[in-house]
């Protein structure tokens, strides 16, 4: 009674930040907020600290991860655990290193790529032969291995110790931890966080952070505007054996990727866990009440596939005895990546959940970057891959999640080659989907969950239409892909004849106002001048306050007071939230998401004009219908089609925005009339080749919030004279100070298309032997007959690591570039390469 009364008192006092969830993530965010000066923080935990899933973690901290963001996050965590341990707070940090095993040559390539990527963050790793692996850990079976990768700086922590340390932090620098307090509702004022209603009373706050782990999805529903947190719990296993003679306390953590298991030493025995290819979702109907310090009943039958692999790798494990088999539920996400960042639905609502069973490894870095995100409204590094705004409503559908996490759990340890996901597919599809399926399209699932054709496989007309596109050919999934010749044919259709691409997945917004308020609004959020004649299409960036790219889009002026905005597929949630956040308070500008209303057909190529002329009465000559303009025309018997003379590929042609009811008619008419023009269904891979070859940067890979137009060569799309737009000041300052990185196009020389590993993005670039940046987009340029890579060049001081102001001399004069593709360096030429427009 007394306790709850006194809790009530504490609850009533308003605070700046309320953190929901007392696991390792929530605690780490509280720690880092306080460390960065925000101590007015209350952390609420419905049970006891760490009682959800943190307490049964395996405690691995391995840094060779799939993306730069994750590497950077885990790298920071390992430094933090080490530092805390040094400072006398025991976290059980043991720097035993990681030993990652490669059974296939594909895995060797993946590991080499990961090593190169991690090296930039100071993560050292070395390749070992199977014999060296054997020597390092004699109990391993190594006759089926190709290689091993030893990462000496990796380590493990003891989750119990970490928990104990976290508990000690309870009163740390004024941060309040309240246990046994359940959140009933997150209170909003308008669409902004205002407070939290709990079973111990309510508390006012400015910021709310949802760190509720596997409860996070449900907690997301507890506000009047629900917040998407797409995750689903799965059973997750590890086994602890009784002490074994063969196990030494200093043995490294073993990760056998191809057998989906890992092993670490645990009080004289082994702790062996894994990520089975088909997981077992659990708690679909909700998590039981009071699920605190609890495990699920063990299902040995489900665990068998992992046990088999463990016994295979460690033959002497056969004689070991079990101490316990732990089935602790963990939450997994639709793409196996964390969910971080600011909720797009509600202002000042942050999320850090869905750690896909690497919460301990992630906690440090996640805490640091989330604190930055909350305090400075941007993290210091690009975390787009982990950003909650990558999701749409579909991803939060429980049935979608249940089917998907079955698969993503198994991908957690895989890393490396990203094969297509096969579950929860064909959920969204364009009106042209079945037509394209009949014409042997191979699809992948776009960020919006809508299928899009990546290429057409005419040779295999009855294949599964979302087959794995990385079927190994000769050099595995990193070598020359099977689709090479197909994409080549599609590419040439677009360059020499006419190609047709379904672009319906692009994000489409309609913006309008009674007067010209919409013009003022867009002039404020866009860096280019959008106040152009009706019918004009304007490519523009939407910058953040640091001048970086929040969005990259095309804006079409349909009327004096109305615009149509086309953005990247993946930007639907993010750019909508950004625009909504900046809309005039008076409601004078109306923003609507019309993505699903239109089907977009891109008719690309020199013959596009002649073909389209057969189907429409509108004059299409280059003078009558100029480049970068939009007109409403008829195509065949369908009307009201917005035809835009741009193709996102540098070729002539139109994108037709067709009200979806008429899409089939327009498609069929184009295909019928197009027959005599050699029209070819074309997928996204050909488009990628076209635009990369022409040095068109794309949002998400080349353009990020950390990149400004000056750095990516898009100064010409910024109208500094108009002023008064978001990011203006930052850009002006940058123009004065100079830039520190620059997007450059590279042509790879001496590359054997059939024998060498291909560049796929994320390869380090070297200038005169010095590391100077990473590639972003890559594609094979069929006209240039070389691999084309885009990448950022920086002038990094080799001693201090400081980034100097770039000069064009640095980039182009006396500079010999090389790109390192999985351990082999290829010379390359830097510059912009003109393509001769007549391929004949």
């Amino acid at each position: 009674m007394l306790r709850s009364q006194c809790l009530r008192l504490r609850l009533c006092s308003p605070s700046k930040v309320v953190i929901g969830g007392g696991g390792v993530i929530g605690c780490s965010i509280a720690y880092h907020l306080a460390k960065q000066g925000w101590t007015d923080v209350v952390l609420l935990e419905q049970g006891k600290l760490t009682c959800g899933t943190t307490w049964h973690a395996a405690g691995l901290v391995g840094r060779l991860r799939g993306s730069s963001g994750e590497i950077s996050i885990v790298n920071y965590s390992s430094q933090l655990y080490k530092q805390l341990d040094d400072e006398g707070y025991s976290t059980g940090w043991k720097q035993c290193g990681s030993l990652n095993l490669c059974r296939t040559s594909d895995r060797v390539v993946a590991s080499k790529r990961a090593m190169l990527n991690a090296k930039r963050f100071g993560v050292d790793a070395e390749m070992l032969t199977p014999e060296e692996v054997q020597e390092m850990v004699p109990m391993l079976r190594t006759d089926d291995l190709k290689a091993g990768v030893f990462v000496p700086g990796d380590g493990v922590v003891n989750p119990t110790d970490v928990t104990r340390w976290l508990r000690k932090q309870r009163k740390w620098r004024g941060v309040k931890f309240i246990e046994g307090c359940k959140i009933n509702q997150v209170l909003l004022e308008g669409s902004k966080v205002a407070g939290v209603e709990t079973d111990l009373g309510h508390i006012k706050c400015d910021y709310f952070v949802n760190c509720a782990g596997q409860w996070a999805r449900d907690l997301g529903q507890l506000s009047s505007i629900p917040v998407r947190v797409p995750l689903h719990s799965c059973e997750h296993y590890y086994l602890v054996t009784k002490a074994m003679d063969a196990v030494s306390a200093s043995m490294p953590v073993i990760r056998d990727y191809d057998g989906y298991v890992y092993l670490r030493e645990w009080s004289g025995g082994l702790l062996a866990g894994g990520f089975e290819p088909e997981a077992k979702p659990v708690f679909h109907e909700g998590i039981p009440e009071k699920f605190e310090f609890q495990l699920l009943p063990e299902d040995w039958d489900h665990f068998q596939i992992l046990l088999d692999q463990m016994l295979h790798r460690v033959p002497c494990l056969s004689d070991a005895q079990v101490r316990n088999l732990t089935n602790g539920p963990e939450s997994f996400t639709p793409d196996g990546k964390y969910i971080l960042g600011r909720a797009p639905e509600v202002k000042n609502y942050f999320i850090a959940a869905g750690m896909n069973s690497s919460g301990i490894a992630a906690a440090g870095g996640v805490g640091k970057h989330m604190a930055e995100w909350i305090i400075r409204s941007e993290p210091s590094i690009d975390l787009w891959m982990l950003d909650v705004r990558r999701f749409v409503d579909l991803h939060n559908n429980k049935k979608f999640l249940r089917d998907r996490v079955r698969e993503t759990l198994g991908n957690c340890l895989k890393g490396g080659a990203s094969s297509q996901l096969r579950s929860s597919r064909r959920v969204g599809a364009s009106p042209l989907h079945l037509r394209m399926h009949q014409r042997s399209a191979v699809f992948d699932q776009s960020a919006r969950g809508v299928e899009r054709a990546i290429y057409f496989d005419y040779l295999h007309p009855h294949h599964d239409d979302f087959q794995d596109t990385s079927i190994p050919q000769k050099n595995g999934s990193y070598g020359k892909p099977l689709w090479f010749d197909k994409v080549k044919a599609e590419y040439w259709a677009c360059r020499a004849g006419v190609g047709l691409i379904d672009m319906s997945t692009f994000t489409k917004f309609d913006l309008r106002s009674a007067g010209t308020e919409v013009v003022d609004f867009l002039q404020y959020v866009c860096s280019n001048d959008v106040d152009k004649a009706v019918g004009t299409i304007i490519h523009t960036g939407m910058q953040n306050h640091h001048g970086g790219y929040e969005n990259d889009c095309s804006v079409v002026r349909l009327a004096d007071n109305r615009y149509f905005m086309i953005g990247p597929t993946a930007q639907q949630t993010r750019s909508y939230a950004w625009l909504k956040d900046h809309l005039p308070q008076d409601g004078s500008v109306v923003l609507s998401d019309v993505t699903s209303m239109y089907t977009a057909i891109n008719v690309i190529g020199p013959k596009a004009q002649e073909l389209l002329a057969e189907l429409t009465d509108a004059p299409l000559g280059k003078q009558d219908f100029t480049h970068m303009t939009c007109k409403e025309i008829n195509v065949g018997q369908a009307s009201g089609i917005k035809a835009m003379r741009l193709t996102h590929s540098g070729e002539d042609g139109w994108i037709l925005y067709i009200p979806s009811e008429y899409a089939l008619h327009v498609y069929d008419s184009l295909m019928a009339y197009g027959e005599n023009y050699g029209i070819r269904n074309t997928g996204y891979y050909a488009l990628r080749a076209l635009r990369t070859e022409k040095f068109f940067a794309y949002w998400g890979t080349d353009l990020t919030p950390q990149v400004t137009p000056l750095e990516c060569g898009r100064e010409y799309r910024v109208k500094l004279d108009k002023g008064g737009f978001i990011g203006y000041a930052a850009l002006v300052a940058q123009r004065q100070q100079g830039i520190k990185k620059k997007l450059v196009q590279f042509l790879i020389e001496d590359h054997d298309l059939d024998e060498d590993v291909w560049p796929w993005g994320g390869e380090p670039i070297f200038r005169n032997g010095q590391y100077c940046g990473m590639t972003t987009s890559t594609a094979y340029g069929f006209t240039l007959d070389r691999h084309v890579c885009l990448g950022y060049v920086e002038d990094i001081d080799p001693v201090s690591g400081k980034r100097n102001i770039l000069t064009s001399d640095f980039i182009l004069k006396n500079a010999k570039y090389e790109v390192d593709i999985a351990g082999k360096r290829f010379p390359c030429k830097a510059g912009t390469f003109r393509i001769h427009h007549d391929p004949t």
Binding site: E298, D301, Q304, L307, D308, S318, V322
Partner: protein, 480 residues
């Protein structure tokens, strides 16, 4: 003829409503749901399941390793309306032996019904020693007669009190006559005592069915004639310790499921089908009649062009003398005598007896009417029940004892993986078999269950199955 037979059996009509009839929505003309793609299921998966499990029975011994039969599971599904199959299960009070019978009626259910109600009693009497007979005869007319057999009653079983009392009288007569014969016949008995007793019981009951139907002073008992004009094949298993006897008359079948050392399921037949496909049976028949008749006896693959089973209860049309049949014809006003009927009897009920001593690898016995065997060969039936057993074994969670090594745990788990891989939807082996006999796929099963009555019989017969599971530990104990 068919019309009269229906008339004769109509006294049972009121009782027949207890049997399963397809739901009315099953009668929607098939064409109505037919599209280009073929049949569209008119039953939902839960509806199919609820129809299939309607007559399900499972009886399990609560005490393990004490009885040879650990459990039995039984089920039936009708094609004829009413169903013509019957089943019976009973336990002999003096020996503790258990009896499992399957009775496949034809020409109406009356004969199978009577046999299912009476045969086990006849067997129990036939098995009594002279002393026991004596003892029993003293109590049988009293208010509390000695209980010879415990009948297991099935949910869908029924009996009529008036008939039951007549049958009691016949049984008492059998007891009295057996008593008077005892002491004489012992030395003539060939083969096992038990086998002979089973044969005696079959023959005696068939005799009684026949004589009860014989018109007396030109009055005839419609009920009794209905029973005797229809027929029934019968297959009965007698399990006493490790001794398994199967008595079979007609085309029901008993198959033993054995798990070979190689972990493969093996089907051991414990009966032969008495039908025209059985060469031995055909030659037995031909030998028993003049050569001149050999062209007529089996024609169109039927006995006298009419009957498929070559041994059966009832069916007096193939057993009685011509003059007796003529009386019957006069009474019911239509032809009953088959063409080329010269040297009756053409049909016998005498069962073939098979003996099998149960071994530790014998896991179960399947007895079923020919409705099952028409759809699935014995090997498939045994494999399916085997898979059912393996799947059942994995129903309970695996617990790893702390003393087990991981290698041993993995070996056990691998074995379980096999059981887990079987797609077993039903919790009853007989239902599992019926589902497979009807096609297993939902669409097929739904179609099979919704054929209108007049076509159903063209696609499938009534199916009745009893699966007897032997207690492995009991058998092992007997051997050690």
């Amino acid at each position: 003829m068919a019309a009269t037979l229906t008339k004769l059996t109509c006294t049972r009509r009121s009782l027949n409503c207890l049997l399963w009839t397809p739901p009315s929505r099953g009668y929607v003309p098939r064409g109505y749901f037919r599209e280009k793609l073929g049949y569209v299921p008119t039953l939902s998966p839960p509806e199919v399941t609820s129809l299939l499990i309607q007559n399900e029975v499972r009886v399990e011994r609560q005490v393990k390793a004490k009885y040879v039969v650990g459990a039995f599971e039984s089920n039936q599904v009708a094609s004829n309306n009413p169903i013509e199959d019957r089943r019976a299960v009973g336990r002999l009070t003096n020996s503790g032996a258990t009896l499992y019978g399957i009775f496949d009626g034809h020409g109406g259910p009356s004969c199978a019904q009577a046999v299912s109600e009476r045969l086990l009693d006849y067997i129990s009497v036939a098995l009594l020693s002279p002393e026991e007979l004596e003892q029993f005869s003293h109590t049988m007319r009293s208010d509390v007669p000695m209980e010879l057999i415990e009948h297991m009653s099935f949910m869908n079983a029924y009996s009529s009190p008036t008939l039951t009392s007549r049958w009691k009288a016949s049984l008492q007569k059998f007891v009295v006559e057996s008593l008077s014969m005892s002491g004489f016949d012992d030395e003539h008995i060939e083969g096992s005592l038990l086998g002979e007793a089973l044969k005696t019981a079959f023959k005696r009951l068939d005799n009684d069915l026949s004589s009860e139907a014989m018109p007396v002073a030109n009055t005839m008992d419609e009920d009794m004639i209905g029973i005797a004009l229809s027929g029934a094949c019968a297959c009965v298993a007698h399990v006493d310790g490790l001794n398994l006897h199967v008595a079979n008359s007609g085309d029901c079948r008993a198959v033993l499921g054995k798990l070979e050392d190689s972990n493969k399921w093996c089907a051991i037949p414990l009966s032969v089908d008495h039908n025209p496909d059985n060469g031995q049976e055909v030659s037995r028949l031909k030998k028993a009649h003049p050569k001149s008749e050999s062209g007529f006896i089996i024609k169109s693959n039927r006995l006298l062009s009419q009957l498929i089973p070559l041994r059966a209860f009832g069916d007096v049309r193939y057993k009685w003398r011509v003059q007796d049949l003529k009386i019957l014809e006069a009474a019911c006003g239509h032809t009953v005598i088959p063409m080329n009927y010269y040297t009756p009897p053409y049909l016998t009920v005498e069962p073939e007896i098979r003996f099998h001593r149960l071994g530790p690898r014998d896991k179960f016995l399947v007895i079923a009417s020919d409705g099952l065997w028409e759809m699935l060969p014995s090997e498939d039936v045994v494999r399916l029940v085997g898979e059912y057993l393996e799947a059942r074994d994995t129903e309970n969670k695996f617990h790893a004892g702390s003393s087990l090594s991981l290698g041993n745990i993995n070996r056990s788990l691998k074995r379980r993986q096999q059981g887990l891989s079987h797609n077993v939807k039903d919790s009853n082996a007989a239902t599992h078999l019926i589902r497979h006999a009807l096609g297993f796929e939902h669409r097929l099963v739904s179609e099979m269950l919704t054929f209108p009555p007049y076509v159903a019989r063209n696609y499938r017969d009534d199916i009745t199955i009893t699966v007897i599971f032997f207690d492995e530990d009991f058998i092992l104990n007997q051997y050690s």
